[in-house]
């Protein structure tokens, strides 16, 4: 009995073939993703690398996709740092790309923006249960009148749910009512919304995007980031250690943390909306190819220079960055360029981790100095897994991760001494696809792919 696991990536279609009994990896393959013709063409090309006999006995087929822009969501809430943020967290946790987040009552300008963005679905939230309803009702009415033909997941004040549904029924293709993303002030509950988004994805969005054949033929189950999240969840559960995954790509860098992130010492007060146990962030300006110019801009040439073992010439970094941003498969052509590539990877990882992790702020009180924490304290995370070509093809991925974690920002609550691993066969998503129904096979894939690459020094 075998499982065929497919990841329709934006650039490559990756395939993993696994034995279910006994659980283990048979092999992997990849081919360029063929979005312009038929996704199945790319899949067939990847499968062609297996011998015919190897493909016998496949009982499980499951796929994830981030092709053609992935699952695209617009989140709408009431107060920016409360329900709008909660809705955004729920959407990210569902493996989506959050195109925009809006707060308060939508303006006509914002409705026009939403129309231009053409999201796959709208996540509408606002008000605690039993709290504010005016805004959420106004927004539902505005959406109903707008002529936008986009399905809606409603995850706001439960008291307004029935009326919201009535307002939207018949005016938008589908309305699903889910539990409130923030049922009480400062209580985050993203799970019901995540599930509703998943349901809508499988029932409506795949068909609307022409992916229903993929769904039927190869079991398209979820967006790729959700598969990665599932893989991470399994790893955290298996190892019983707080975990951070960092996936450094050409266009974005994703960070996923699995940890309650509560303050680890006395004298620290947690403020703001608590962040979810499973938190995902996507940095659209941090990447190694398409986003390399944005990375250079965000991090700054000075900080990159500090990571190089030589003094770069004027514009040397800039020209390398411009060159590699034009071609997904660009490679360093000299030792110097390899060093610049390495510096870019370190800067990218460091910045993404700092942005994802929580932060400390000093507060001076008559009782002495206290600390205020916003976000998650990840300093105690036991495991850090690096994912992505920049690490897999580097000569020293462990050193890159260590440098990214070291000497950062002492107020940023990034992991301090995790064990470091590399997803050397790109199997995180494949493991995630198997995690629910074939957890032992999923665990076998994780064991197979996770190469230990050191530990951060104390």
């Amino acid at each position: 009995m075998k499982a065929l696991l497919i990841d329709f990536g934006s650039t490559y279609t990756k395939v993993a073939l696994a034995n279910l009994d006994p659980p283990g990896l048979i092999g992997t393959a990849q081919a360029p993703t063929t979005t312009s013709t038929d996704l199945l063409d790319g899949l067939r090309a990847a499968l062609a690398t297996f011998s015919p006999g190897e493909l016998d006995g496949i009982t499980v087929k499951r796929a994830c996709s981030s092709a053609a822009g992935g699952l695209r969501i617009v989140a709408i809430g009431l107060v920016p740092v409360l329900t709008a943020k909660a809705a955004r967290e729920a959407a990210l946790g569902a493996g989506a790309r959050v195109l925009a987040t809006y707060a308060h009552t939508l303006t006509h300008q914002e409705l026009a923006e939403i129309e231009d963005l053409q999201p796959d679905l709208l996540l509408l939230a606002g008000g605690t249960d039993g709290g504010e309803q005016r805004t959420v009702l106004d927004n539902a009415a505005l959406l109903a009148e707008s002529g936008l033909s986009i399905p809606v997941v409603y995850a706001g004040n439960k008291v307004a749910a029935e009326q919201v549904e009535q307002l939207l029924r018949g005016r938008v293709p589908r309305v699903i009512v889910a539990g409130n993303v923030m049922p009480e002030v400062n209580v985050l509950q993203t799970e019901p919304a995540r599930q509703a988004i998943r349901e809508l994805y499988l029932q409506e969005i795949t068909r609307a995007r022409g992916l229903d054949r993929i769904q039927q033929e190869v079991g398209l189950a979820m967006p790729t980031p959700l598969a990665v999240l599932r893989g991470g969840e399994l790893l955290q559960r298996t190892r019983q250690q707080d975990l951070v995954l960092v996936d450094i790509g050409g266009a974005t860098t994703d960070v996923h943390s699995f940890s309650d992130g509560k303050p680890r010492s006395a004298g620290v007060i947690l403020k703001g909306l608590p962040e979810p146990f499973i938190k995902r962030t996507v940095e659209g300006d941090l990447g190694m190819r398409l986003s390399a110019p944005a990375l250079l801009y965000s991090v700054g040439a000075d900080r990159l220079q500090a990571l190089l073992p030589f003094q770069p010439m004027t514009d040397e970094i800039r020209s390398y960055v411009d060159r590699i941003s034009q071609a997904k498969d660009a490679l360093p052509g000299s030792d110097r360029e390899s060093q610049i590539e390495r510096a870019l990877a370190i800067a990218c990882l460091r910045e993404a981790l700092i942005r994802h992790a929580g932060r400390l702020e000093e507060a001076f009180t008559p009782s002495g100095r206290m600390w205020i924490q916003q976000g998650k304290d990840l300093t105690g995370a036991g495991l850090l897994v690096g994912i992505g070509g920049a690490l897999v093809h580097a000569g020293d991925p462990g050193a890159i991760l260590q440098e990214a974690l070291a000497a950062g920002d002492c107020l940023a609550l990034t992991p301090q001494h995790p064990e470091l691993y590399l997803d050397r066969h790109y199997l995180m998503a494949a493991a995630g696809l198997l995690a629910d129904h074939q957890p032992q096979a999923a665990e076998a894939l994780l064991r197979e792919t996770l190469a230990p690459i050191g530990r951060c020094k104390a």
């Binding site: 009431l78 107060v79 740092v81 409360l82 329900t83 606002g126 008000g127 605690t128 039993g130 709290g131 504010e132 309803q133 923030m182 009480e184 002030v185 400062n186 007060i269 403020k271 507060a363 001076f364 009180t365 008559p366 009782s367 206290m370 205020i372």
Partner: protein
């Protein structure tokens, strides 16, 4: 008394926590839905919580003597945030130095608070006032 929500918190850089807990318990027992933001609460936090929960009142505690500074501008922020008419109560050790309570009360009334309480007032007094002010 269905769903009358109040926001509780200790404002500013103040970490006195025990009285705040007592207030939470007594107001809860009195039938209010209590959103307790705890200690070191900023004006912004009070208001965000009040907006999302459609609260009827914000009850600000201040015990370390710097309440005037922390409370200044709260009523205006409420107005800016669309909850300009919300009931604002304040209580505790509101000022440092010697001033009569009637001076303190006048000061805080001018800042936009509907009721001002000196130290040593039992929670039940505020509960009764709140019920009266809300017509409950």
């Amino acid at each position: 008394m269905p769903h009358t929500t109040i926001i509780l918190g200790v404002i500013g850089a103040d970490v006195h926590a025990v009285g705040n807990k007592i207030l939470e318990l007594t107001f809860n027992d009195a039938g209010f839905k209590v959103v307790n933001l705890g200690v070191m609460v900023s004006q912004e936090e009070f208001i965000n919580a009040a907006v999302e929960s459609a609260a009827s009142a914000i009850l600000v505690s201040s015990l370390y003597g710097h309440g005037e500074l922390d409370c200044r501008g709260l009523r205006e922020q409420c107005r800016e945030s669309g909850i300009g008419e919300i009931l604002l109560y304040v209580g505790g050790n509101l000022v440092v130095g010697k001033r009569t309570f009637s001076e303190v009360e006048q000061l805080f009334r001018e800042l936009g608070f509907d009721r001002v309480y000196p130290p040593g007032v039992m929670p039940e007094v505020a509960i009764n006032d709140l019920k009266k002010d809300l017509g409950l």
